[in-house]
C-alpha cells in the first residue's frame, strides 16, 4: 500500500511536527515497526510528536476494548487506547471511578500511564501509576510481554511516567475505586496570599480527598498568590441527587482566536472576575463530578483560544525542603518578566510515585498556562533556573521549551537510572519522540 502523505500532528498546546499516524484496532500487529505511540494528543508539548527524521507514529485510539472488569475487586483491564471519558461513562453509573483522574477526561489509558498522571487526590492516593497492576508492552527487540511490579520490574517502573520511551503500551490493568455517587460535595474558600494558600492546602489534606487551588497570578505584593481553594469529596448517596448528572451542552471553538484577544488586559479582567466570584469567604454545595474534575472539558477545543501560536503550560514541583517561600519566588519570576498566565493552578503533592521519571514529589506544584510569544523561551528559561535553585523539577507531559541542560540538572540520578534501564531494554534508542530528542539527546 502506498504511504499516505505527512500531515501536521500537534500537542494540546498546538506545538506541532510533521508526521503520519498509523491507526488500527490490532496494536500488536501494527506496532512492530513504529517507534512511538500517541493517543488523544492531550499532552501539551512535544511528548507525543515524532522526531523529525522518523515521521511515523502509532495512534492507539482505535484499540479501545475493555478486556475484563471484576465488579467485586474493581480490577480492570483494557487496550491502551480506551479513553477515560468512555471509562467514566460506562462505569460511573455502576459505582466505580478511576483511582486517579487528570484535569481532562479526553486522555487514553496508555497516555495516563506514560505521563503517570496525577489528580486532585495526589496527596492521598498518589499517581495513576501507583494503581497499575500490570502492563502489556511491545519492547524494542520486538517481543510482546507483560510487565508488573513482579515481572520485569525495571521496565515497569521506567514505563510509568516514561513518556512512551520504553516501548508501546498495548494493554493496561489497574484497580478501580468505588464511589458512593456521581456527585461531589465541594467547598470553595477565598485565599488572600500564597502563604495562606499553602497552609490551607496542608490543613485540608487530611480531611479532603480532593484539593486544588486556582491562583490569580497577576496579583502582586502582599496579594501575590491570592485565589480560591477548592476541596471536595464524593457525596454520599443520601446527599446527592438520585439522578445522574446530565452532560451539558458542549460548545466548541471552531476557529483560532486572534492573539490580541488574550492580552494583558483581558487576562487581568478574567482573573479579577474569577477571584471576585468567590465573594463569600467560604461556600459549599453539591456539584457534578464533571464540573469539579473537568471544568475545561466543557468547551471543546478550548486550546484554540490561544490562537495559532498556541500556548505552553509550565508546571513545576517545588520540594517541601525548599520552604514555603519558594512558591512566592517562582511567581515573582513570572510577574517580574511581565509573563501573564491566563490560568494558574496550585496543588500539594503527598508522595513520590513508583515511576523512575514520574513528576510528583512531596511539596507544592504550580501550573501556569502561558500563551506562546516571542519571549516565551526566555521566560521558561528563567522559571527553570529558579526551579533548579529550589531543587524542583518540571512535568514532561506539559513541556515543550525546557533546555536539555536544565532538565539534566533537575533530574540528576533519576535520569541516570532511566538511561540505565533504557540501555537494557532499548540500547539502540529505537523509541524516540520530539521531546526525547530535545531533552535526552536521542
Amino acid at each position: 500500500m502506498s504511504e499516505p502523505p505527512l500531515s501536521t500532528l500537534s500537542g494540546w498546546g498546538r506545538h506541532s511536527a510533521r508526521g503520519r499516524e498509523r491507526l488500527g484496532e490490532d496494536l500488536e500487529r501494527i506496532s512492530a515497526d513504529v517507534n512511538l505511540s500517541r493517543g488523544l494528543g492531550r499532552s501539551y508539548g512535544d511528548a507525543s510528536l515524532p522526531p523529525d527524521d522518523e515521521p511515523d507514529v502509532l495512534n492507539t485510539t482505535f484499540a479501545d476494548r475493555i478486556l475484563g472488569f471484576d465488579e467485586d475487586t474493581g480490577l480492570f483491564r483494557a487496550e491502551s487506547g480506551l479513553a477515560l471519558s468512555e471509562l467514566n461513562r460506562l462505569l460511573m453509573p455502576r459505582g466505580y471511578f478511576s483511582p486517579v483522574s487528570p484535569g481532562t477526561k479526553f486522555v487514553t489509558l496508555g497516555g495516563m500511564v506514560a505521563a503517570d498522571v496525577h489528580g486532585k487526590n495526589q496527596h492521598k492516593d498518589g499517581n495513576f501509576g501507583d494503581h497499575v497492576t500490570s502492563l502489556k508492552m511491545r519492547v524494542a527487540d520486538g517481543r510482546v510481554l507483560e510487565c508488573s511490579p513482579q515481572q520485569h520490574p525495571d521496565l515497569f517502573r521506567a514505563t510509568i511516567g516514561g513518556m512512551g520511551l520504553t516501548g508501546h503500551i498495548l494493554e493496561v490493568e489497574f484497580g478501580m475505586h468505588r464511589i458512593p455517587s456521581q456527585w461531589i460535595w465541594q467547598e470553595s474558600r477565598r485565599i488572600h496570599n500564597i502563604d495562606e494558600f499553602q497552609d490551607a492546602l496542608e490543613e485540608s489534606a487530611p480531611e479532603w480527598p480532593y484539593t486544588m487551588g486556582w491562583i490569580d497570578c497577576l496579583a502582586r505584593g502582599k496579594n501575590t498568590g491570592r485565589g480560591i481553594l477548592m476541596t471536595g469529596r464524593w457525596a454520599e448517596a443520601d446527599q446527592a441527587p438520585s439522578r445522574a448528572p446530565k452532560p451539558g451542552f458542549q460548545p466548541r471553538l471552531r476557529f483560532d482566536w486572534p492573539s490580541w484577544v488574550l492580552s494583558g488586559l483581558t487576562i487581568r479582567l478574567f482573573n479579577e472576575l474569577f477571584y471576585r466570584k468567590q465573594w463569600r469567604l467560604r461556600s459549599s454545595g453539591i456539584v457534578s463530578h464533571e464540573s469539579f474534575y473537568y471544568p475545561l472539558d466543557a468547551i471543546d477545543s478550548w486550546n484554540r483560544m490561544y490562537g495559532r501560536r498556541g500556548f505552553t503550560q509550565y508546571q513545576c514541583v517545588l520540594p517541601r525542603e525548599a520552604g514555603q517561600s519558594s512558591a512566592r519566588r517562582v511567581l515573582d519570576v513570572l510577574t517580574a518578566r511581565g509573563g501573564a498566565s491566563f490560568l494558574c493552578v496550585i496543588k500539594d503533592f503527598g508522595r513520590e510515585s513508583r515511576g523512575v521519571l514520574s513528576f510528583p514529589r512531596p511539596g507544592i506544584t504550580l501550573a501556569l498556562d502561558i500563551a506562546v510569544r516571542d519571549d516565551t523561551q526566555e521566560l521558561v528559561d528563567a522559571l527553570n533556573e529558579q526551579v533548579l535553585q529550589e531543587g524542583g523539577r518540571i512535568y514532561l507531559a506539559k513541556d515543550s521549551f525546557t533546555r536539555r541542560e536544565h532538565f539534566e540538572a533537575m533530574e540528576g540520578s533519576r535520569l541516570d537510572e532511566f538511561k540505565a534501564i533504557r540501555d537494557r531494554w532499548d540500547p539502540n534508542r529505537r523509541f524516540r519522540s520530539a521531546q526525547s530528542v530535545r531533552l535526552l539527546g536521542d
Binding site: 491507526l23 488500527g24 484496532e25 476494548r65 475493555i66
Partner: protein
C-alpha cells in the same frame, strides 16, 4: 433482540455491537479470528451484553462455513431476530489495478461471498418467521466513480441483491436494511484524506440501529450522503468523465 453479528470486532461494526450490548441485546459474534472475537466478547459483556458473549468462527472467504456458523449462532442464542453483516474489505482503485489477485479477492468477498452469507442468513430468519437482515453496502455502489470503480461495482451488486431480497420477502416478515455509509473515519479508511461530511463510527451506529428497529429498507450514514448521492446520480456522463470524485 437476538443478533448474529459478522464483523463486530472492528470499525462501524464494533460501534454498532456496543450500542446493542449497552441496551441489553443478546449477541453472538461471528468472525474469522478466534482470539479477536474473544477480546470483543469481553468488551461487549462489560458493556452490558450477556456474560459470556458467545462467538462462532466464520470466515467470509469460506462460503462452506456460512450455514453451519449461522445455525450454531441461532442455537446458542435460542432463536434469531437479526443478522448484521458489517464485514468486508476495502482497497483503493490504484491498489486494485496494481494487484489483480487482490481485486479478485475483494469482488469475491464483498459481493459473491456476502451474497452467499445473506442467503444462509435469510433462510434462517425466514424459518424463524422473519427478522432483520442488516447489511453494510456503500455509497460507492451508487454511481461508477473513478476512485472506487471495482469496490463500487461489488457494492452496487450487493445493493441490488439486497433490494431484490426485500421485494421478494418483505411480505414474509424479512426486514432487509441496506446501509450505505459515506466516508466514515475507521481503520479501513485510515490514511485517506477525509472529505467533507466524513462520519464518526458512533454516529453511524446510532442511525443504523434506529433503521434496524424501524425496519427502514435503506439508510445513508452520515445523513448528508443521501442528497449528495442524489446529486451525483443526476450528473451527466460528461461531468462524471471530468471530475475525480
Amino acid at each position: 433482540m437476538r443478533v448474529a453479528f459478522l464483523g463486530a470486532t472492528k470499525g462501524m461494526g464494533r460501534a454498532l455491537a456496543r450500542l446493542m450490548a449497552e441496551r441489553g441485546d443478546t449477541i453472538c459474534l461471528l468472525g474469522r479470528n478466534d482470539a479477536d472475537l474473544e477480546r470483543s466478547a469481553a468488551d461487549l459483556s462489560v458493556r452490558g451484553a450477556a456474560d459470556p458473549v458467545p462467538s462462532v468462527v466464520c470466515d467470509l472467504e469460506k462460503p462452506e462455513t456460512f450455514a453451519s456458523a449461522i445455525d450454531a449462532a441461532r442455537e446458542t442464542l435460542g432463536g434469531l431476530d437479526a443478522v448484521v453483516v458489517t464485514a468486508g474489505v476495502f482497497a483503493t482503485q490504484d491498489e486494485l489495478e496494481a494487484d489483480p489477485a487482490l481485486a479478485e479477492k475483494l469482488v469475491r468477498i464483498n459481493f459473491s461471498n456476502t451474497v452467499m452469507f445473506c442467503e444462509a442468513a435469510k433462510k434462517a430468519l425466514l424459518e424463524e418467521g422473519g427478522g432483520a437482515l442488516c447489511v453494510f453496502s456503500s455509497v460507492a455502489g451508487e454511481r461508477g466513480r473513478k476512485p472506487v470503480i471495482i469496490y463500487g461495482a461489488a457494492k452496487a451488486g450487493l445493493t441490488r441483491y439486497l433490494e431484490g431480497l426485500d421485494h421478494k420477502h418483505h411480505a414474509d416478515g424479512l426486514r432487509v436494511v441496506t446501509v450505505k455509509p459515506g466516508f466514515v473515519k475507521t481503520s479501513m479508511t485510515a490514511g485517506l484524506d477525509p472529505p467533507p461530511f466524513a462520519g464518526e463510527p458512533d454516529a453511524v451506529a446510532q442511525r443504523v440501529l434506529g433503521a434496524i428497529d424501524r425496519g427502514a429498507p435503506v439508510v445513508y450514514a452520515p445523513a448528508p450522503w443521501r442528497p449528495i448521492m442524489a446529486i451525483i446520480r443526476a450528473f451527466p456522463r460528461a461531468i462524471m468523465r471530468r471530475i475525480n470524485f
